[in-house]
Symmetry: C2
Subunit: 210 residues, 2 copies
DNA sequence: GTCTATAAGAAGATAGAC
DNA sequence: GTCTATCTTCTTATAGAC
C-alpha cells in the first residue's frame, strides 16, 4: 500500500535517465537516487544495471507485440480492419493520422523509449531491431495495407502502395525526430503534419470518389 | 613524414568510436589504443576527452558551413542556382536525388558524424543544433527553394513548396536512419529511393511541361 | 527491503623520465 | 611526443547489520 511497486519504479526512473544520457551515461547510483533508495538496495530487485536495461527492453517489446497483434500490424491487414477502413474519408484520414502522430509524440513512455532506442541502436542489436521494427517496418507495412484497400476501392490513385505509405509516414517520422531533439518545435510540427496530410490527400486522391 | 598528423588521426579514431558507443561509452584509453599510442600521450595533443569531442563538432561544423555557403543552403536559393535548376528534367531530379542520398549514405565521415550526433543529441545542445540543422532544416529549406522555382516555371503543380520538399526529402531521411541502424538494408533502400522519386515526379509533375 | 561499509576495478588526468 | 608510474574519483557490485 505504501509503495506502488519499487521494482516497476526502478524501471521507470531508469528509462527516464537512459532516454537522455544513454546506458553508459547513467550510473546505478543515479537510478537509485531517482527512486529514493541507495544503490545497494537496487540489487535486491535486479541483478545489475544490464538486467534493468534488458527488462525495459523486454517489457516494452511485450507491450508492443500485444498492441501490434490487436491492430494486425504484423503482416497483412485483417478482413475486419479492411472493412473498418472502407468507410474512411479524407477528413478521417487527417484525423486518424494526426491522432497517431500525437500519440507517438506526447505519450511520455513511448517518447522516452524511442529516445533510448535511438541512442542505443548502434551498439545494441536488440535495440536496433526494436527501433527499425517499431518506427519503420511496422508503420509502413500497416499503412501499406490500408492504402491497398483504398486503391482496390478506387479511393486512391493506382500507385505503389508501399511508396504511398512511406510518403504518408516518413514526414511524421522526421517530425518526431525533430521534436524529440527540440521539443520547442512541437506546435509548428503539429501544424505542419496537418498541411502534409491535406496535401497528401490532394495528390493521391484528387479526382477520386470520396 | 613518418606520421601523417597524429592530432588529426586522434579525431578520426575518436569519431569512429563515438559513432558506435557514444561519448560515455568510449574511454580515453580506447581512443589512444586505436591510434597506437598510450592514453597519457594523448594529453599532449588535446586537453582531454571533452576537448576531443568539441574539436570534432567544431571542425565538422566548419566544413559543413563552407559547403552550405557554396550551395546557398542558408536561406533562399541564389539567382545562379535558380538558373541552374531551370533546365532540370524529371530524370535529372531522380539522378540528383539519388546522388545526394548516396553521398549521405556512403561517405564514411558523413555517416559516422551523423551517427555520433544521433547518439549525443539529447544530452548535448550543440549536437542537437547541428543534428536538426544538417539533417532537417537545411535539406528542407534547400529543396523548398528548388521547388519554388519549379512551381514558378510551371514544371510542378501549384502546391505548398515546403510540404513538397518534405515529401521529397523525408523518405530519404527515413531510409538513412534505417541504413545507419541496419546496413544490410542498403540495397533495398537504394532501390526504394528510386521508386520514391519516380512516384514523387508523377504525383507532383504529371500533366506539367517537362 | 533498506541501510552502511567496503571491495575491486575502471576511468580521466597529471608528473616526470627519456 | 611517447612512455611508465601514479593520483583521484567514479562505478559496479557484494557483505552483513537492522
Amino acid at each position: 500500500m505504501e509503495k506502488k511497486d519499487t521494482k516497476q519504479i526502478i524501471l521507470d526512473e531508469a528509462l527516464d535517465l537512459f532516454a537522455v544520457n544513454g546506458y553508459d551515461g547513467v550510473a546505478v547510483a543515479d537510478i537509485a537516487n531517482a527512486v529514493g533508495i541507495k544503490a545497494s538496495s537496487l540489487y535486491k530487485h535486479y541483478k545489475g544495471k544490464q538486467d534493468i536495461f534488458d527488462c525495459i527492453l523486454e517489457k516494452t517489446a511485450e507491450r508492443y507485440n500485444e498492441m501490434a497483434g490487436r491492430l494486425g500490424i504484423d503482416g497483412n491487414i485483417s478482413e475486419r480492419d479492411a472493412a473498418q477502413y472502407s468507410g474512411m474519408s479524407t477528413e478521417t484520414l487527417v484525423e486518424t493520422g494526426t491522432a497517431l502522430f500525437m500519440y507517438f509524440l506526447h505519450d511520455d513512455y513511448a517518447r522516452k523509449f524511442r529516445r533510448m532506442l535511438t541512442i542505443e541502436q548502434y551498439k545494441n542489436e536488440a535495440a536496433s531491431k526494436l527501433y527499425t521494427e517499431q518506427y519503420m517496418d511496422s508503420p509502413i507495412v500497416y499503412q501499406s495495407s490500408i492504402f491497398k484497400v483504398f486503391i482496390e476501392q478506387g479511393k486512391m490513385k493506382n500507385v505503389d502502395a508501399k511508396v504511398a505509405a512511406v510518403h504518408f509516414y516518413s514526414p511524421m517520422f522526421l517530425m518526431l525526430c525533430l521534436c524529440d531533439s527540440c521539443p520547442e518545435h512541437e506546435p509548428s510540427a503539429l501544424e505542419f503534419i496537418r498541411q502534409h496530410i491535406t496535401q497528401f490527400s490532394k495528390l493521391y486522391m484528387e479526382g477520386k470518389i470520396l
